[in-house]
């Protein structure tokens, strides 16, 4: 009996575990996707309607000298000095078909954009205008050829072209922070590699040669990186490592292979770990002495190349350079500690034949930094793009697959109508970072950059998109759940202000690219919960079988207790409680196991991947690692559903127990 009870508890625990882990992971994935959907595109968007574009307020810029006869974007409208730039004396007459100017109660012209921002301010909402555009994006990729950071290294260049969407970068978005990735070590190395490359010639289709940067340009690039990074570890870039000679401690023997040709050593190879070679090397008074196994000995010439069988990683810190004296990377020196054959190497080496392996990257500041890093940085939670010689772009991380790195330069190419023809225009940009575009349909092609660039391209090629879609206001909320409520509040406030017909307010539930996905999530959630309930019911049915067996087994005892005055209710309570206790116990065990599993989800995934022989979960869909937070919704569901279903399961045998006739049982005993 107790074995069956244990098995029942085990089965229910297993189901509780399964349901909790499954619902938690799916819930986490949904939350992640939702975050991604609403971080690039805020939970609420306010876009101008056709009425806005037909309004006097919008059209008037096109005929006003004060506006340079240029239509204004929402951002420009928000910062414009004049609500009505029209001057009856200077500008042409207002066309008769235009709608009337909208006025406030006091007769002043109503500013549609500023009124909208005022309402958002009153609701204490973080809002920023956005603009989307499109252009061809051409990247010039300069890559090292040969062994990096050595004299043997040269630079080659290639190009990458992609037609892209361009969206204005919203530094105020509270979630963008979670999407922007920190620079990788290879990005850092690349920035150093590019430090001496001039950005000139960027506009050309195929610049013939890579031009060296001027000393001042090189030093300023170096300063921008070095001020915002602390290098903690470096490693050699090839087997050959000439600096080793200066690092070897005096009087310590190292195992080496040293081929001899014509009586002279041609090269010295150090194994990483101590092992028998052709002899040993020892440093004496700054010279390397070779002691061969065969008893020969000779001094190794300084020019003999030194090799290490493998790459050496070492702790390193940069010796603070005096930048005005630095003319190449070789002028930078590291203070290093490394191990070779179990012996410590200590000393200073120049940046030659080594690259950065680990570094601390600074991107959080309390006040604007004096030396802006070449990557996005945060000042008091607001994100800023670096402003170097050229505007920065943040690329979707898919570009990393094309080996694009931080510091790569390129340009946007777009057509602008001139008086005679369409002419290609180029806007140079530099790659400042990567972000995770999540699941957006156009995510792989959406480049973030500052709003001026987007507006410049839009103004030049204003037929590129439906105007309603390219410009608007993003409204950020801390609680996604309040998006629908806030939308209603804003609609009421806009209505009250009399500007509702000029604006369309949408919550993320209605975004075209998100709608289907969100509905699918909702259906999935219901479906998974339903499956959870069914599986739980099936598992809890075990309790029914177990307790029915128990009732049959304990018939005599039930009759005895009944004869002694136990009421039917108390007998029923015993069996119902039995079910409830089993359910509760299983819930606790299953929940504990689920917490443990979620805590170690990465190991579980690795194991599953190992079993399958390939990645169990595609990172594109599920993120770098599966969510490991216990879902509250799932926990509440389990904590309520399992004991209730178990109690109900306990009721069936309980009722059976009360139907027993004690008289019959006692007589048959």
């Amino acid at each position: 009996m107790s074995l069956i009870a244990l098995m029942s508890v085990g089965v229910i625990s297993l189901v509780v575990w399964l349901v909790l882990v499954f619902l938690s992971v799916t819930d986490g994935i949904e939350k992640n996707w939702l975050k991604k959907l609403t971080s690039l595109n805020a939970p609420l968007q306010i876009t101008p309607t056709d009425d806005y574009y037909r309004s006097y307020y919008y059209q008037v810029d096109g005929i006003s000298n004060a506006s340079d006869y240029q239509y204004k974007s929402i951002g420009e409208k928000a910062s414009a000095l004049l609500t009505d730039p029209y001057s009856p004396t200077e500008d042409q007459a207002v066309p008769a078909r235009w709608p009337d100017i909208l006025r406030n109660d006091d007769g002043t012209p109503k500013d549609l954009v500023k009124s909208a921002f005022n309402i958002l301010d009153k609701h204490a909402l973080i809002a920023q205008d956005f603009e989307v555009s499109g252009a061809a994006f051409k990247l010039r990729m300069i890559r090292p050829q040969g062994i990096p950071f050595t004299s043997a290294q040269e630079k080659a260049q290639g190009h990458l072209t992609q037609v892209s969407y361009i969206s204005s970068f919203s530094g105020k978005s509270p979630r963008l922070k979670t999407l922007i990735e920190s620079p990788r070590t290879e990005d850092l190395n690349h920035l150093f590699l590019l430090a001496d490359v001039s950005s000139r010639g960027l506009y050309e289709d195929t610049p013939d040669e890579i031009e060296h940067a001027s000393v001042s340009e090189f030093q300023s690039k170096l300063e921008s990186v070095l001020s915002n990074v602390e290098i903690t570890g470096i490693k050699t870039t090839s087997h050959r490592w000439q600096s080793l000679g200066s690092l070897l401690p005096e009087g310590v023997l190292f195992d080496v292979y040293a081929p001899v040709k014509n009586g002279a050593i041609t090269q010295v190879v150090f194994p990483l770990d101590a092992k028998q070679g052709s002899g040993k090397i020892q440093k004496k008074q700054g010279r390397l002495h070779y002691l061969g196994k065969d008893g020969t000995s000779q001094i190794v010439n300084f020019a003999v190349p030194l090799f290490v069988e493998g790459r050496i990683s070492m702790e390193a810190s940069l010796v603070p350079p005096s930048l005005k004296n630095v003319r190449s990377l070789n002028d930078l020196r590291f203070e290093i500690t490394a191990k070779l054959q179990g012996k410590t190497l200590l000393g200073q080496i120049p940046w030659d034949g080594v690259e950065i392996e680990t570094a601390k990257i600074f991107n959080q500041f309390d006040a604007p930094p004096s030396h802006v890093p070449p990557w996005p940085y945060y000042v008091n939670d607001e994100i800023y793009l670096p402003e170097a010689d050229y505007p920065s772009v943040i690329l979707p991380k898919h570009f990393q697959n094309n080996r694009v790195k931080l510091g790569d330069t390129g340009y946007f190419s777009y057509g602008a109508a001139t008086s005679s023809a369409m002419q290609e225009q180029r806007l140079p940009v530099v790659v400042a970072g990567f972000y995770d575009p999540g699941v957006m349909a156009i995510g792989a092609k959406l480049i973030l950059t500052n709003s001026e660039i987007v507006h410049t391209i839009n103004t030049a090629s204003n037929t590129f998109f439906d105007p309603n879609m390219v410009n608007g206001i993003q409204v950020y909320l801390n609680d996604l759940g309040s998006a629908k409520d806030m939308k209603e509040k804003l609609i009421a406030a806009f209505e009250n202000e009399g500007i509702l017909k000029y604006w369309k307010i949408t919550s993320f539930h209605e975004y075209d690219f998100a709608k289907d996905l969100l509905q699918q999530f909702q259906s999935d959630k219901y479906l998974f919960t339903l499956i959870g309930v069914i599986v739980l019911i099936v598992a809890c049915s075990n309790i029914i079988s177990l307790l029915v067996i128990l009732v049959n087994d304990k018939k005599k005892e039930i009759a005895i207790l009944s004869a002694m005055g136990a009421s039917k209710r108390s007998i029923a309570t015993i069996f119902t409680l039995c079910g409830g206790i089993m359910g509760t116990l299983s819930t606790l065990i299953g929940t504990g196991a689920a917490i443990l599993t979620l805590h170690n989800i990465d190991s579980v995934v690795s194991f599953l991947s190992f079993l399958q022989g390939h990645d169990a979960f595609n990172a594109v869909f599920y993120g770098k690692s599966l969510p490991n937070e216990l879902s509250h919704h799932a926990l509440v569901f389990i904590l309520i559903a399992t004991p209730i279903i178990s109690l109900l399961a306990g009721l069936v045998p309980a009722v059976k127990a009360t139907k027993l006739s004690p008289s019959q049982i006692l007589r048959s005993e």
Binding site: S562, A563, G565
Partner: protein, 223 residues
């Protein structure tokens, strides 16, 4: 007016499977405090059925039953058994997984009456089981089990004790011991005692002997 411990009037009991079969055909019976009653009769006559009906374990088809002036066929059932009736069965019906003391204390636990430990120990001493308090019921011999069962029946100080062949499974020595305990408890404590038995020796110790035949009780004078 005389106060009966038990008053049964015109009790009838019929079974309908497969055909109608009248087990009791109008049984009337009253028991006074301190009165001992033996019910005899051939096997299958319905003695146990009558006893179970009197003990509210089984409802009659018709008739009325009062125990201590309370209508025993109403809602009172379980509480009535707990407070007013003590059962002694032929096969003892102790709970094997519990100790002797726990078994004796069971009626007080069911009735949520606290502070009965001393009483239980006293009763067990009276039936000569003071050495076996902490033994499991299954470790006892038949006679010991029945003595423990009697102690259990007496714990809640019921006014009526119903015994169904109390010595049916015991040897003569043990039987006599049980008879003596039962009769003397009833007499000394003023409880009504109804014993269903085939044992003439036991029946003869009772105040009244009834024979159940053809569903009715016939009174024989005590010898």
């Amino acid at each position: 007016m005389e106060k009966f411990v038990l008053k049964a009037t015109n009790l009838k009991k019929s079974y309908f499977h497969p055909t109608k079969c009248d087990i009791l055909n109008g049984v009337s019976l009253s028991v006074n405090p301190g009165e001992t009653v033996a019910i005899m009769g051939p096997s299958g006559a319905g003695k146990s059925t009558l006893l179970h009906i009197l003990g509210t374990l089984d409802p009659p088809s018709s008739g009325s039953l009062e125990i201590n002036g309370i209508d025993a066929l109403g809602d009172a059932g379980a509480a009535l058994r707990n407070h007013h009736i003590g059962f002694v069965f032929q096969n003892y019906n102790l709970l094997d997984e519990y100790t002797v003391l726990d078994n004796v204390l069971m009626p007080s636990r069911i009735g949520r009456i606290s502070g009965k430990e001393e009483e239980a120990k006293r009763l067990l001493q009276e039936v000569g089981l003071e050495e076996h308090l902490s033994h499991f019921a299954k470790q006892l011999s038949g006679g010991e089990k029945q003595r423990a069962a009697i102690a259990r029946a007496l714990l809640n100080n019921p006014s009526l004790i119903l015994a169904d062949e109390p010595s049916g499974n015991l040897d003569d020595v043990n039987s006599e011991k049980i008879h003596e305990i039962l009769i003397s408890s009833a007499k000394n404590l003023g409880k009504g005692l109804i014993i269903v038995t085939h044992n003439h020796a036991l029946a003869n110790q009772c105040d009244i002997i009834y024979t159940l035949q053809s569903g009715t009780l016939k009174a024989n004078k005590a010898i």
